[in-house]
């Protein structure tokens, strides 16, 4: 296969003896070095290389300006914006940066296409005026923007030119000005190689060179596309052929007719993007080095690399490895964000929690301050927007923490400190080789910024720092080593310009990527752009189409991967290019469509069942002697494996930390509160004044226990505040209800509260039951066993039958089980429980006083809640059988 560049070199060597007399202009910097290497293969004796420029460098040379960095563009535009708009410049940097890139890109389009900016901005103003008129809200403010935009453009150019820098548009404008003189003085012949869509400046330069016979333009376009009616790939070149004077006299020469040669083209639909990486890896195993992998979306690079069979072949990755997702970079972004967005001595909690909450900082920066960090984190959890630095300082004042969190006076100090933090991290020696490389890039970046911000011309407003650094770090990449000339090349579509490969693999051949979605970000309305010849999405589509089909021209094996899943959201459509190929009817193309089948095997993992080893039996005996609690038995009944985890392995239930009191914590507070409220009246008959005293103490007691138990963990704000005041209300309602009962001449006698019990279930073996009864009282003549519950209690769950097997696997009956255990314990203790009543007082239904345990088969409306005398005996037997089962070696702990 003869590549396009080889063809060009052959032609150049044929046409020229002295290479130092020629200048070659190529679309990209990367191509320049490739071109030189290729050229050196074709020469016979040492000689001076021709001048080789990328178009960008060429233009920069011509203009005698250097390209401003993005940062420089933003900062200067911001400065100019403030100056031009004076008091009307209301936007802070955060808002400014939302529209600035669009505006700069509009400026670029106007400048590089040599459009009279005065005219176009005037038209834009008229257009906006018309729209505003329609909208009937001519408050003038908005229009002011459009009125001053020309001035903004002029001043922006001025300020950059004064610094000898420029946007790419300015570079073009200046280059064109100087171009004619420039070429007169140089005795050079120019070759322009591999270009397609040109802006007006380029058109002028190229045409001038052609017309003055000082240059040739070598196009890379297959005759097929040129001849094919309306093929968008040929749009621009065809236009030049039609319109340029030079081509009216000189015929347009085609060297290539490759596209219609034999080709194998396979379109492969995958289910996920990740599968594309797998598939590419599979394909490359059987391909030669003369292969390019074009990544439609850079995001897939990483999965691709980790799946390639690297050892087998040589590889070259053109795009670098993006750094923004690395924890170390995230840390610094959060750091800049924190100081950028915190105006006073207050710190915003969101970036702050990103800093101190991230595992990276916990393990690599604050390793020695981990307690303080956790403490701080808890506080952040409950605060909302900001926290004062003073508060942080009072909690933790180690050097490194202060270095990170101390509010910074200005951007310079912020950058300076970032360097010392970075050095601190590097000194810790916890970084691996990869992260050391990354930290070096960061160091370079920060140091460069430091030097720059020292000079007066480059003042970074503090509120801009985060955006600037974010923008900057996005562009930083870790380079791969490789060989541009040999090995399988991995690159983006733009980097394939003017290159050819025998095997071409392209990923993400979906609409939206090939071509890119038609997102046109511009302040210039579509029609205005059309009228002034500024490219719109239509032109963008043609550019994309050119790049795509160009790389296929000389290829033999083509693999087009696309994501074929019908996911949720916006349309994921196969690229139009695949349709174009399949409809193109070229006989020598062997086109095939393949779908990767889904692999959706699911395996079922069974919980392992645990055999009762002697160790476990020993533990069980210990538990038994200590006493089984109602909860532990319930746990066994609802799921034996849970019992095993909780009581044999002693693993506490996992309650994820949130910023609100969880159920267990609520329970503790409420129980403690009720205990305290009733304690003074233990063994007493309740009287109205007692209730009045209790009522006065509710709020205080609740708050006291909240503070005592959870004051460090939670703030009494937000949902916690609501919870506590809701319980206060509920307790109040409940106490009032009880008071009302007493007023109505009922007698309530508090027998016991939080009564501990421990009874032997089976006197032969030491099997104890233990627990605590919330409250025992006597209501008129009825003894009552009462369990408090903070949550809702469904009365149906307290209806018992003698079918105790129901307790197995059913957690809903927990309270019923518990009450039965209490009664049983009392009975074993010698109480006559037959005339006892048991029930739950739920604070979720404070007006209901007591929800009784009752026989399911008892008639509905009968007030009789007394117990069936036999039930406890049966229950006793049932429990014994459960205990037997627990100790039964033959029965493993299984999962139900």
């Amino acid at each position: 296969m003869k590549t396009f560049l080889n063809e060009c070199i052959a032609r150049i060597l044929k046409e020229n003896k002295d290479l130092s007399k020629i200048t070659v202009i190529l679309p990209t910097q990367r191509l320049c070095s490739i071109f030189v290497s290729l050229l050196s293969k074709e020469i016979n004796s040492p000689q001076f290389s021709p001048n080789i420029y990328s178009i960008r460098d060429f233009v920069s040379n011509l203009s005698d300006l250097s390209k401003a960095s993005k940062t420089e563009e933003y900062l200067n535009l911001y400065k100019v914006y403030k100056e031009v708009f004076k008091n009307n410049a209301t936007e802070d940097f955060e808002n400014f940066i939302k529209w600035a890139p669009t505006l700069i890109s509009d400026f670029n389009k106007i400048d590089s296409n040599m459009i009279d900016s005065k005219l176009i901005f005037k038209d834009l103003y008229e257009y906006q005026k018309m729209e505003n008129l329609f909208e009937n809200n001519s408050d003038g403010n908005d229009l002011g923007f459009w009125n001053l935009i020309d001035k903004l453009h002029q001043e922006f150019s001025k300020i950059l030119l004064a610094k000898r820098i420029g946007t790419s548009g300015i570079l073009y404008r200046e280059a064109v000005k100087k171009f004619k003189n420039y070429i007169k003085n140089k005795n050079q012949f120019y070759y322009m190689i591999g270009f397609n869509a040109l802006n007006n400046s380029e058109k002028l330069i190229f045409q001038t060179l052609l017309d003055t016979k000082q240059g040739s333009v070598l196009w890379d376009l297959d005759k097929y596309f040129f001849d094919k009616d309306s093929h968008s790939s040929a749009k621009f070149i065809k236009e030049y052929q039609r319109e340029w004077n030079y081509y009216k006299k000189t015929p347009f020469i085609f060297n290539a007719n490759n596209y219609t040669q034999n080709k194998r083209i396979i379109s492969i639909s995958t289910n996920t993007d990740y599968e594309q990486a797998l598939k590419v890896s599979e394909i490359t195993r059987n391909l030669s080095d003369n292969t390019v992998i074009v990544l439609g979306e850079e995001g897939i690079l990483f999965p691709l690399l980790s799946n390639l069979k690297i050892a087998d072949k040589k590889w070259n990755v053109t795009m670098g490895y993006k750094l923004t997702q690395l924890p170390i970079v995230r840390f610094f972004l959060a750091y800049f964000n924190l100081h950028s967005s915190s105006p006073n001595n207050n710190l915003k909690t969101i970036p702050l929690s990103q800093i101190i909450g991230s595992p990276f900082s916990k393990n690599l920066i604050f390793k020695n301050e981990i307690d303080k960090i956790e403490n701080l984190n808890r506080i952040l959890f409950s605060n909302f927007d900001e926290i004062s630095f003073e508060k942080i300082k009072s909690l933790c004042n180690t050097e490194i923490l202060l270095k990170v969190l101390h509010p910074k006076e200005d951007a310079f100090i912020c950058i300076e400190d970032s360097i010392s933090i970075l050095n601190f991290i590097r000194k810790n020696k916890n970084l691996d080789e990869f992260n050391i490389s990354v930290s070096e890039i960061l160091l370079d970046t920060f140091e460069e910024m430091k030097i720059k911000s020292e000079s007066n011309n480059f003042k970074i407003p503090k509120d801009a720092l985060y955006y600037i650094m974010n923008e900057l770090l996005k562009t930083k990449k870790l380079d791969f080593k490789g060989d541009k000339m040999n090995g399988i090349q991995i690159m983006g579509i733009l980097q394939t310009r003017a290159l050819d490969f025998e095997n071409v693999i392209v990923t993400h051949v979906n609409e939206g990527t090939f071509p890119q979605s038609k997102r046109d970000e511009s302040f210039l309305p579509f029609n205005l752009r059309k009228a002034y010849g500024i490219p719109t999405f239509l032109e963008k589509d043609s550019v994309n189409s050119y790049h795509f089909f160009r790389i296929l021209q000389r290829a033999k094996n083509i693999f087009l991967l696309n994501n074929g899943s019908a996911g949720v959201g916006f349309l994921r459509e196969k690229s139009r290019y695949i349709r174009q190929i399949s409809f193109s009817k070229i006989p020598s193309h062997n086109f095939q469509e393949v779908i990767i089948s889904q692999n959706i095997k699911k395996s079922v993992i069974k919980e392992p069942s645990i055999n009762k080893t002697s160790e476990i039996i020993k533990k069980l005996k210990y538990i038994s002697k200590n006493g089984f609690s109602a909860t532990s038995l319930r746990k066994y009944l609802s799921n034996p494996i849970d019992f095993y985890s909780r009581y044999i392995l002693e693993i506490p239930d996992y309650i994820p930390q949130t910023n609100t009191l969880n159920d267990m914590e609520r329970g503790i507070i409420i129980h403690k509160t009720l205990e305290e409220l009733y304690t003074p009246y233990l063994k007493k008959q309740m009287k109205i004044p007692y209730y009045d005293k209790i009522l006065k103490k509710i709020k205080f007691t609740l708050h006291y226990y909240f503070k005592k138990y959870y004051g460090n963990k939670y703030d009494l704000t937000g949902e916690n505040f609501l919870i506590i005041s809701a319980y206060e209300r509920a307790i109040r309602l409940f106490i009032n209800k009880e008071k009302k009962l007493v007023i109505d001449n009922n007698r309530i006698f508090i027998l016991d509260i939080e009564k501990d019990f421990k009874v032997n279930l089976n006197s032969k073996n030491e099997v104890f039951l233990k627990g605590k009864i919330d409250r025992l009282d006597k209501f008129n003549d009825v003894y009552r066993v009462i369990d408090y519950k903070t949550g809702y209690m469904n009365p149906d769950y307290l209806k018992y039958t003698s079918d105790f097997q129901r307790f197995k696997g059913d957690y809903k009956l927990h309270n019923q089980f518990q009450l039965l255990i209490y009664l049983l314990a009392l009975k074993i203790d010698g109480e006559k429980v037959e005339n006892f009543q048991a029930g739950v007082i739920s604070l979720h239904s404070p007006l209901t006083t007591i929800i009784p345990l009752k026989n399911k088969s008892a008639p509905k409306n009968k007030g009789d809640n007394s117990l069936d005398p036999y039930i406890l005996d049966e229950f006793h037997e049932f429990l014994k059988s459960v205990i037997l089962e627990i100790f039964d070696k033959k029965k493993s702990f299984v999962s139900l």
Binding site: V36, Q47, F134, E135, R164, I600, S609, L649
Partner: protein, 1047 residues
């Protein structure tokens, strides 16, 4: 069949299921294309559908038709078009090819899009006007935003007094009402949903306009009214009881203590008191004796005299009870609705903070823009397209606001002349029987209304009914004709009858074949498992008659039914797949990975550890005792456990690498994770996407999003799997399957759950307190005519939706249709009862099943060979070591050297621009200006560079007598390229000059000698060489002797 007689400006196609809807709309589209003189009419045409799948199908069909025509393949459609456009075949073929080319090369203007993407485009085009950032993302799922807004509010408690008070009061109210759940978050999230849900938006918008103060006074009014009513009732009852007592009519005289029971109940605040009064009223109205038979005539007379009073009092009480109920009902949602405007602004705030826009806010945003901008046609203009021909598919699914927007956009275009003096056109295709998206805002009545109205768009629509069924085979078409015709008599509401009375009967295109079977299961305790077995039975029948698993679809109503079937199929190893129900979370492998992240974040949580240990025990196939393995490892760190079991994974990686890197590494490191498994790589895709779009920045972020979406994230569907498709009817809309099974066809037609309903309070209360929302229960429907009306509308909607659902299900089948019903719900209005009623006239076969057509058992069906091949990824996946091989080992450059390296590079860069002494100042000024060097550096460099230029040994070569080139490349045949720092030459001599900033090294000489060698060759002159060593404060020049070194 010709659907397009002339190019009417406004055409409506009534397209029942299977009637070639896509065919017609495509043909219509093509006719417009061909009629136009230019070959680019498509860029004036806009096709709008509702789903991505429909977009794809329509696009493909248009392109494929054009391709066929251009290859001289003329089908039915071609004939129709030829007739319509007055072309001959050659012309059609030729024009097709041209148009096809044009479309493919201007695909960006080939606009067939979903309504959502159309709105998306408009919003993007008007970003500035709508005060949006230029780079917003679209968010489809509102859950996270809603949750955050609710949390935001709750956090405000204690901060914002007004909100605290409201929320506190709301909690109290919940306690007083003894509601089961006090949590506010859900209520606030619900409020957010009201703002986003189209069905509620109108009311929500109105409510938002009422400020807190006013709401407060309204609330006070309502509470006051409530008290008043309660007191009134108390008063009336007390008086009435007194009166009865005075007359000697005591309770014992009444059967069942009527009257007394109710009045006392009222005073005792009994439950269900309204119902009791209602019954009493009925009794009174029916003039049934309330008094016991034994009561004396005297007392009966007394009672009869009282009856008028009694009646009027009871009516008063009942009316008051209604008012009380309504007001209490209103007050239940009062607080959350009061917060509407606050919640709404928080939702806006969160969207703008996240730079995201919820898709459900699209319509409202556009409506806002439309209302301030009457010149709608510039909307399209601004987007760069101007449309003349509009095609809207599935019109019955359009919501009210969507239609308002579309209407105003289309209207303007239709009224304007096109470039070639053609009127614009509008084609609507729809079927009100297939409207099943009411819950999402669809308003199917619009499609019926628009057909009747004559003045919509000032145009009279031409209406065509598509009568032929192209999809289903004869017996299926006939069954559906039979069934839905009979159904009309069974329907209870006019609204539904309107939907089903028209254009029901279809002609089958296929004159024979097809099979329908309806089976009734006996009611049974475990009917669900009977259903599941029946489904399997039906599948076996289909397989036997030659169909494949992938030909079969089971259509259900709820996702949980789909999952139930899936579980059964898993047990029975029936290949199948479930759309949107293949949750990531269902995969054990994904669970394992999630567990890993949780464990990293909570390394000391034992319950997580034990969970993970169990998984490890399973995967590692340990043969030791479980308890031993667990207890042994419980207190070890996982890094240690991994190591002991030869697993590479290390938790420290989470601190150093991106989450994706770590999880992917885990996939390689744990041999039981299969990267080729679609669950696993979809999961990885998700993480990768979230990371690349910067939605997450650490594992904790991810876990939060995961938990919010655990029951949503699912594996995307790929049609090519060979398995039974289990799908909800909603997902199956627009699709067809050879075999369709519709199980569980015994549900009630009406929903039992109470609905929340909006109503205008002024229609009910004396004071207008704005729109109110109440829970509409059975009780509410008994409150009188106004409420009955609402009730009727609710039921009518439910009926329509239920039958539409069934209609869509039964019309998907091509060859075989199985309906499985049961005897359940026979006593109420249910699918089972109606099916049974309709089938009464039919005879069942021996097994009690009803059949249309005959089933034939074949070996296998002839099927056209698939164009598209299915493949598996087969190779063995393993982790590459690319990090080692492909990254620069940057570590060799130690820090200490960094400073001087920069300086060295800078010196070379500066010198490459300096040719003569005069250049020094200019170049350094420039660099200083750019901020690349500071003042000190500048002075330093000027000084040192001047010293170079004036150095006695080389001064001469820096003069104007010599031509100089800096950093010029020298090409060597097939070798590396040389680039000497400076070459100066005149006619006789050539001088190579190299700058060095480091210490002197032997290889420096060799390098310069190489330069000299080639320079001599190229320029053919005597060659000298110098190395200039530039130290911090010193400068030395060394001449290289070519000759001596050469030897």
């Amino acid at each position: 069949m010709s659907t397009v007689n002339n190019l009417n400006a406004f055409l409506i196609l009534n397209a029942s299921a299977g009637s070639g809807k896509t065919f017609s709309i495509v043909q219509n589209y093509l006719v417009h294309l061909f009629k136009d003189k230019s070959d680019e009419a498509f860029n004036k045409m806009l096709g709008i559908t509702f789903t991505n799948a429909a977009v794809l199908e329509m696009k493909s069909r248009i392109l494929e038709q054009l391709y066929k025509f251009s290859n001289n393949k003329f089908d039915n459609m071609a004939q129709n078009i030829i007739k319509e456009v007055d072309f001959d075949k050659d012309e059609l073929a030729k024009k097709s090819e041209v148009i096809l080319n044009k479309i493919l090369n201007n695909y960006g203007t080939f606009d067939i899009i979903t309504i959502d993407s159309l709105f998306h485009r408009i919003i993007r085009g008007f970003a500035k006007e709508l005060e949006l950032s230029y780079s917003f993302d679209v968010e489809i799922e509102p859950e996270i935003v809603l949750n955050e807004s609710a949390e935001y509010f709750i956090k405000k408690v204690g901060e914002d007094k007004q909100i605290s008070n409201l929320l506190e009061r709301f909690t109290y109210q919940k306690i007083n009402n003894e509601e089961n759940d006090w949590r506010l978050k859900e209520d606030l999230v619900d409020v957010g949903r009201l703002i986003l849900n189209e069905n509620d938006q109108l009311y929500a918008t109105q409510l938002r306009k009422i400020n807190l103060k006013k709401r407060d006074s309204h609330e006070k009014y309502l509470k006051h009214e409530l008290n008043l009513l309660k007191n009134k009732n108390k008063e009336i009852s007390t008086k009435l009881l007194e009166k009865l007592g005075l007359e000697g009519l005591n309770a014992d005289l009444f059967t069942y203590k009527y009257v007394y029971k109710e009045l006392k109940g009222l005073l005792n605040k009994d439950k269900e008191i309204f119902e009791k009064f209602l019954r009493l009223n009925d009794k009174l109205n029916e003039k049934k004796p309330l008094l016991k038979a034994s009561v004396t005539d005297d007392l009966v007379n007394k009672f009869n005299q009282i009856i008028p009073y009694l009646k009027s009092d009871l009516t008063k009480i009942t009316n008051n009870l209604i008012s009380i109920d309504i007001i209490e009902n209103i007050l239940r949602d009062w607080v959350p609705l009061t917060l509407l405007s606050n919640v709404s602004s928080v939702i806006d705030k969160i969207q703008s903070e996240k730079n995201k826009i919820l898709i459900s806010t699209f319509s409202n945003r556009i409506l806002k823009q439309l209302s301030i901008n009457p010149y709608h046609n510039i909307i399209f203009e601004k987007l760069g397209n101007k449309y003349h021909n509009f095609f809207i598919d599935e019109f019955q699914d359009t919501s009210e606001s969507q239609w308002i927007i579309l209407k105003s956009l289309i209207q303007d275009c239709l009224q304007n002349f096109g470039e070639n003096k053609n009127y614009g056109t509008l084609t609507l295709v729809g079927d009100s029987k297939q409207s099943i998206y009411r819950w999402r805002g669809a308003k199917p009545e619009q499609f019926i209304e628009i057909q009747k109205s004559k003045d919509l768009l000032f145009l009279k629509p031409k209406i065509e009914d598509l009568k032929t069924n192209y999809r289903s085979q004869k017996e299926i078409v006939e069954f559906n004709n039979f069934f839905y015709l009979k159904l009309i008599d069974q329907l209870e509401h006019e609204q539904t009858k309107k939907v089903y009375n028209k254009s029901l009967v279809q002609n089958a295109k296929n004159k024979q074949g097809g099979y329908v079977q309806i089976d009734f299961l006996n009611n049974n305790e475990d009917i669900d498992s009977v259903y599941l077995n029946k489904i399997i039975e039906k599948i076996k029948i289909s397989l036997k008659s030659g169909f494949d698993y992938k030909d079969i679809a089971i259509l259900v109503r709820y996702n949980r039914e789909a999952r139930e079937i899936s579980i059964k199929f898993q047990e029975e190893s029936i290949p199948h797949f479930v759309s949107d129900a293949l949750l990531f979370a269902d995969s054990n492998q994904v669970q394992f990975l999630i567990n890993l992240i949780e464990l990293f974040l909570n390394p000391n949580v034992l319950s997580l550890k034990i969970q993970h240990l169990k998984l490890l025990y399973h995967y590692l196939n340990k043969d030791e005792e479980v308890h031993y393995f667990l207890s042994k490892n419980l207190n070890k760190s996982f890094n240690q456990i991994f190591k002991e079991n030869n697993l590479n994974f290390n938790f420290d990686d989470f601190n150093k690498y991106s989450l994706f890197y770590c999880i992917e590494k885990a996939c390689f490191d744990f041999p039981w994770i299969d990267l080729k498994n679609t669950f696993v790589n979809s999961f990885l895709d998700k993480i990768l996407h979230l990371e690349n779009s910067e939605q997450i920045s650490n594992p904790l972020d991810f876990l939060k999003i995961w938990q919010a979406n655990i029951s949503k994230w699912s594996v995307a569907l790929n049609d090519e799997v060979n398995g039974v498709k289990i799908s909800t009817v909603h997902k199956a809309k627009g699709l067809e399957f050879p075999v369709v099974i519709v199980p569980f066809s015994d549900k009630q037609i009406y929903n039992r759950q109470a609905k929340k309903v909006w109503f205008n309070s002024s229609e009910f209360l004396e004071t207008d307190v704005g729109y109110a929302r109440i829970k509409f229960t059975k009780k509410t429907s008994q409150f009188g005519n106004y409420w009955k009306g609402i009730h009727q509308k609710i039921k009518a909607d439910e009926e329509t939706d239920a039958w539409n659902f069934f209609y869509v299900a039964t019309t998907r089948a091509v060859n075989q249709l199985f309906i499985i019903s049961s005897n359940k719900n026979q006593n109420s209005y249910s699918f089972s009862r109606v099916i049974k009623n309709i089938l009464q006239s039919k005879k069942s076969n021996e097994e009690g099943m009803f059949e249309w057509g005959k089933i034939k058992n074949k070996k296998s069906l002839k099927r056209s060979k698939a164009k598209i091949v299915t493949e598996e990824i087969t190779y063995d996946v393993e982790k590459s070591n690319f990090e080692e091989k492909l990254f620069y080992p940057n570590t060799s450059n130690k820090n200490s050297k960094k400073g001087s390296r920069r300086k060295g590079d800078l010196i070379h860069e500066l010198l490459s621009h300096i040719y003569s002494l005069e250049d020094i100042q200019i170049v350094l000024d420039k660099y200083y200006l750019k901020g690349k060097i500071d003042k000190v550096e500048k002075e330093y460099f000027i000084k040192i560079f001047k010293r170079i230029h004036l150095h006695p040994m080389i001064k001469k070569y820096f003069s104007k007598n010599y031509l100089s080139i800096n950093e010029k490349s020298i090409l060597l045949p097939d070798k590396k390229i040389l680039r000497p720092d400076r070459i100066s030459y005149d006619d006789k001599t050539c001088v190579v000059i190299d700058y060095k900033t480091g210490s002197k090294k032997e290889k420096d000489n060799l390098q310069v000698i190489e330069y000299m060698k080639y320079m001599g060759e190229i320029l053919n002159r005597e060659t000298l060489g110098f190395i200039i060593y530039i130290g911090d404060n010193n400068l030395s020049v060394k001449q290289i002797d070519f000759q001596t070194n050469k030897n």
